[in-house]
């Protein structure tokens, strides 16, 4: 079995199995956690408007913090959008999702996706370096912060190398790219990357809970 066969076959199967177990563990475990009953009189019939509003409002730059977090805000959006464009719209990625989900979607020209990938990678590396050098960030960063950024960066680096076909031979480059994605899948449920599944439900929950008490989230 070649490295590519291993990456495409058993390694992917186990990575997906562990990823699925981890995701369901975290989601079900969180949903079933004990919550104190709220005995206050609900101000609204439904939590939906406040929950939805919180999702939107927490996604835009709050005016009162505009000067403090504008850098993180912009760079955060930049690399996230670049990353999702790369993952979801590269022509050679669609067959992966099609094989997994049973359906695919149109892709973007490679030139656009490669620019998105390069921007995403540059910003991620910059943020990682900043985290390592910034005196405050140094103190508040945990191993999860570093591991999560590194496993997110690796598929971009290996993907660009595989696309450019430099370094190793093509199948080794491709195998390393797939293995790096599997590393991301393995770490995903157990670190802060889980925010992909948690962010919007938790924003909704906070908005709905505050709205019930008549407070803007």
């Amino acid at each position: 079995m070649t490295l590519l066969d291993f990456a495409r076959g058993p390694a992917m199967q186990w990575a997906l199995i562990i990823f699925t177990i981890g995701i369901f563990w975290r989601l079900v475990g969180t949903v079933l956690l004990y919550r104190r009953r709220d005995f206050s009189q609900p101000r609204r019939k439904s939590g939906l408007p406040d929950g939805a509003r919180a999702i939107v409002m927490r996604s835009v730059l709050p005016p009162e913090l505009e000067h403090n977090i504008v850098f993180q805000h912009v760079t955060g959006y930049l690399w996230h959008i670049g990353y999702f464009v790369t993952v979801l719209f590269l022509g050679t990625h669609i067959p992966f999702f099609k094989s997994l989900l049973g359906f695919g979607w149109p892709h973007l020209p490679n030139a656009i996706v490669m620019i998105a990938a390069a921007v995403s990678l540059a910003v991620l590396v910059m943020l990682l370096v900043r985290r390592m050098l910034h005196p405050v960030l140094q103190k508040i960063s945990t191993s999860d912060d570093y591991i999560s950024v590194i496993v997110t960066i690796l598929p971009l680096i290996t993907g660009l190398i595989s696309y450019a076909n430099i370094g190793f031979i093509k199948e080794t480059n491709l195998a390393l790219h797939i293995l790096s994605v599997e590393l991301l899948l393995l770490w995903f449920p157990f670190g802060k990357l889980m925010h992909l599944f948690m962010t919007f439900p938790s924003r909704y929950q906070v908005g709905a809970a505050f709205g019930r008490r008549g407070v803007k989230a």
């Binding site: 070649t2 369901f24 475990g29 050679t92």
Partner: protein, 352 residues
């Protein structure tokens, strides 16, 4: 034809002009990525080369490799060069059969001990030697006996090189490649299902020219022909770079000749010379005919999933596996939540 005749004498007798012969030499130099300055040396070496004895064994195979070789758009120079080899035994092609044929093999081995070449197509069954026999001799015994006095062995085709289709899961005959049995002789793997005829003749020409075997890659294949992937030299490569793919075999992309990656083309991970040497007198190769590369010159190509699954498509197992994983994850989540609730309750009871 006498084995003592030089190649130049044989070609002259067959009416091949000097100009034609030099063209062939230039072709060989080009194929093997050699500089033009090597052409006179190749020509001189070929002219003076004696006909080496070649014993061609066919084991567990479909005769596709021999078909490929014999249909090398004869009469070409490559064909003549092949005839110029003293093909002393090839039980598919030879008229003789039975003991007479075997006697020819044994005689060639005796007369050319230590200097003859052995070409083998097909894999060797080990589960039961009776699965494939020639004149009552099992393939494994015949291979060991014939290889003993050989200068080198050329494994022709993917079956002889890597086990090929007989070796595919569940490998009922216990098929193995030549390299699993012969350990003490140089082996050149000329893989492909079938291999390109020009590659076979090119390897023989190199042996005639330099008296030694070509430089091989890590799978024992001549680098001159297997040094690059199909993808590296594919004329559709610009479409891959731009992200323009045919999605089906009859869509607009297919009609425009776009990249076949998403239709399962294995060109990016397949090392062979199809995109440059092509087939049928240089007419075309599978991708040029609108079908993706199957990766037939690579080990275990038959067991790597569907030919029509893209390299990006994952072999992710079954939905049942992921369903079971989801249930297991949910159970662990429910269990941990219950545990947390119990601890919270205890803490609250303590406080109250």
């Amino acid at each position: 034809m006498s084995n003592s005749m030089t190649l130049a004498e044989i070609l002259e007798r067959r009416g091949v002009s000097r100009r034609g012969f030099l063209k062939f030499s230039a072709g060989i130099a080009s194929l093997m990525a050699m500089p033009p300055s090597m052409i006179p040396r190749i020509a001189a070496a070929l002219e003076n080369a004696r006909r080496p004895s070649l014993i061609y064994l066919s084991f567990q195979e479909c005769t596709g490799c021999t078909e490929s070789l014999t249909r090398s758009h004869a009469p070409t120079l490559e064909g003549l060069i092949f005839e110029a080899i003293s093909l002393d035994y090839h039980h598919t092609l030879q008229a003789a059969a039975g003991y007479g044929a075997e006697a020819a093999r044994l005689q060639a081995m005796e007369e050319n001990a230590g200097s003859y070449l052995v070409a083998v197509d097909g894999s060797v069954p080990l589960a039961d030697p009776g699965y494939s026999t020639i004149a009552g001799v099992s393939n494994v015994d015949m291979l060991r006996e014939t290889a003993e006095g050989a200068a080198a062995i050329i494994a022709i085709g993917t079956c002889a090189s890597f086990g090929g289709i007989p070796h595919a899961n569940p490998n009922p005959t216990g098929a193995v490649p030549i390299s699993d049995i012969v350990k003490d002789k140089p082996i050149i793997n000329v893989s492909g299902c079938p291999p390109i005829p020009t590659v076979i003749t090119g390897v023989l020409a190199q042996y005639l020219t330099f008296g030694k075997l070509p430089e091989l890659d890590d799978l024992g294949r001549p680098k001159a022909f297997f040094g690059q992937t199909i993808h590296d030299r594919c004329y559709r490569r610009p479409f891959y770079e731009k992200g323009q793919y045919a999605e089906t075999f009859d869509d607009e992309g297919a009609r425009k000749g776009w990249c076949l990656f998403r239709l399962g083309c294995k060109g990016p991970v397949t090392y062979n010379a199809c995109a440059t040497l092509k087939w049928n007198a240089g007419t075309s190769f599978p991708i040029e005919s609108g079908h993706g590369c199957l990766g037939c010159s690579e080990p275990n190509f038959w067991d790597k999933g569907s030919f029509y699954d893209s390299l990006s498509a994952t072999q992710w197992g079954s939905p049942a596996n992921l369903g079971a994983a989801a249930l297991a994850g949910a159970a662990i989540g429910a269990g941990s939540a219950m545990l947390a609730r119990r601890q919270q309750k205890k803490a609250q009871e303590k406080q109250s």
